[in-house]
């Protein structure tokens, strides 16, 4: 997310003592809530050196889960990127009835419990009693308790992220350059490829990185729709739960460490790229 810090010169939050107190309170709070616990996960993962990490990386069930996680996340991100960029352009550049309602609906996935997401998908695509599920299964397409359902669940939870990044960039950009391109003879596709896309590139990249982090880490919704079958539909986050509950804390911490590493790396990438683009 954004690095919104703006240097406001010497005008800071108050006279010396108050400022230092606030700084101390905030730093302590974040240290206790995030930094220290995060550090401990890393330390626990390496409590026995590289033993735990090696163990999970050589366990075929775990490596299968990791691969599956990546495949699902990449598929979900691709879908959300195409959908997100498309719907953002429609929302910002075009005028049609219901724009406001659609705008509000697109944020819905942010406030729906992952378990409810899973439930909702099962109710519609479940093979036994779902609205569409039995028909689809008769046609040979199993969704729930299979990879397509897991992709759907992941797409659902990460849906607004690309849109939330791209819409403000498009609004900020305005349509002057696009109109100029049209007046110079470019058709809609050429205008998009040569002018719009390069201009919103960074917004799309942030959206993709954040969606990727979110997709790799989805747990609740995937848990409901996956069936959690070892070696088939188990993802990395489900491995963490399973290892921990089976008293393989080392394995749980090692897998968690890998996931945390990706998450933290994503944030660092985004925060390192963004300020350059902001100015």
């Amino acid at each position: 997310m954004a690095d919104h810090s703006r240097t406001t010169g010497t005008r800071v939050g108050g006279p010396g003592p108050v400022r230092h107190l606030l700084r101390l309170v905030v730093t302590t709070y974040l240290f206790l809530l995030v930094a220290w616990p995060l550090y401990l996960v890393g330390r626990n993962a390496f409590a026995d050196g590289f033993v735990d990490l090696t163990a999970i990386l050589t366990d075929p069930d775990v490596t299968h889960a990791l691969r599956l996680t990546v495949v699902i996340a990449v598929a979900a991100v691709m879908i959300n990127t195409v959908f997100g960029v498309g719907i953002s352009i429609l929302l910002v550049r075009y005028n049609f009835p219901g724009t406001r309602l659609l705008n509000a609906l697109l944020d819905v996935p942010l406030s729906v419990s992952p378990i409810v997401v899973g439930l909702a998908l099962v109710l519609v695509y479940g093979g036994r009693e779902g609205w569409f599920g039995p028909t689809l299964e008769a046609a040979g397409l199993q969704i729930i308790f299979a990879v397509p359902g897991m992709v759907l669940a992941t797409v659902f939870v990460a849906l607004p992220l690309v849109i939330r990044e791209v819409v403000p960039v498009l609004e900020e950009l305005g349509d002057d350059q696009e109109q100029a391109a049209r007046s110079l003879g470019a058709n809609a596709l050429q205008t998009f490829r040569r002018i719009t896309l390069p201009s919103i590139k960074w917004g799309v990249i942030y959206g993709v990185v954040l969606s990727l982090a979110r997709s790799l880490g989805e747990f609740g919704a995937v848990k409901v729709v996956s069936g959690n079958v070892l070696g088939q539909t188990r993802t990395a986050t489900l491995v963490v739960e399973e290892k921990y509950l089976n008293f393989d804390k080392g394995g749980a911490y090692a897998t968690a460490f890998l996931l945390a590493l990706v998450a933290v790396a994503s944030i660092i990438v985004v925060s390192a790229l963004r300020p350059k683009e902001d100015r």
Binding site: M1, L22, S111, V116, L119, L259, I267
Partner: protein, 282 residues
């Protein structure tokens, strides 16, 4: 008009912006159609299925499900804790945003990254992360595992970024000259904050609070390992829904889900109204 000369100069200022967007072309119309079909299949129809399933047993059935002793306790715990956490976030989130915008010190960049960690970290990992400092092996000697404090802690962790990230940009845009003007008029720092800064931040705080609350009541992953999901004690609504699904009872799962959805929409609507009101007055 005191001057007899009517000087003809037409300033380009306040040019009316005439365009509100292009009308749909056949291609963009088709694009919108495809997007809406996908969005309906993925989000709208499934959520409608939840509502329809919940209403199948009629109001009586719905009421019976949610007033079941264990379910009601879970909903109370979830809503209560989410509200409490949102209150804490209103204070701490605003404070953090303030420090990030107005203070400068080494390591501020690191704090920026820490704020976003809960957003990107898988929730199951978040649970494990908190467990390592506040669980049985706590180096601090604080063990909240399997207590209601664990639920509070988990909510606090996952909702951390929301208010900070909505307040921060607004605060950054706030002109420091306004504060200086207030100070020059004799207002103390506290008065300046209360009378000048806080009102401008209220819409952002309300928006962040809505997100924070909605995220709180829908939380599941971070609690799995941390709270023990003890019925009547630490079990939250999402866990109730999951156990109904696992017990092959989609009707009562849907009933609880509808309650959750209703509460979070109600909160979003109320806070949206708060935002608008403040904006209109300001």
């Amino acid at each position: 008009m005191t001057s007899a000369v009517l000087a003809p100069d037409g300033p380009a200022a306040n040019r009316r912006s005439a365009r509100g967007g292009l009308p749909l072309t056949p291609v963009s119309g088709l694009g919108l159609g495809v997007a809406m079909l996908w969005f309906s299949l993925l989000v709208l129809i499934p959520l409608a299925a939840v509502v329809v399933t919940a209403s199948q047993g009629g109001w009586g059935g719905l009421w019976q499900t949610v007033t079941n002793e264990q379910t009601a306790a879970a909903i109370r715990l979830t809503v209560g804790t989410a509200a409490l956490v949102t209150l804490v976030n209103i204070v701490m989130g605003t404070l953090i945003a303030w420090v990030l915008v107005r203070d400068r010190f080494a390591g501020k960049r690191a704090l920026e990254i820490l704020i976003d960690v809960p957003f990107a970290l898988p929730t199951i990992v978040a649970g494990l992360v908190l467990l390592s400092l506040y669980g049985p092996d706590s180096p601090l000697g604080v063990n909240v595992a399997n207590t209601r404090a664990a639920v509070f802690l988990a909510f606090l962790f996952v909702t951390l970024p929301f208010i900070v990230r909505t307040v921060q940009p607004v605060l950054a845009e706030l002109d420091p000259e306004i504060e200086e003007a207030a100070a020059s008029l004799g207002a103390s720092r506290l008065t300046t904050f209360r009378r000048i800064i806080l009102p401008s931040l209220t819409p952002a705080i309300a928006a962040g609070a809505a997100l924070s609350f909605a995220r709180g009541i829908s939380e599941y992953g971070s609690l799995v390992l941390l709270s023990g999901n003890l019925p009547m004690r630490t079990e939250v609504a999402s866990v109730r829904i999951l156990s109904s699904i696992e017990n092959d009872n989609p009707d009562s799962a849907a009933a609880v889900a509808v309650v959750l959805l209703t509460i979070s929409f109600a909160v979003i609507v109320v806070l949206d109204l708060v935002q608008r009101r403040v904006v209109r007055r300001g």
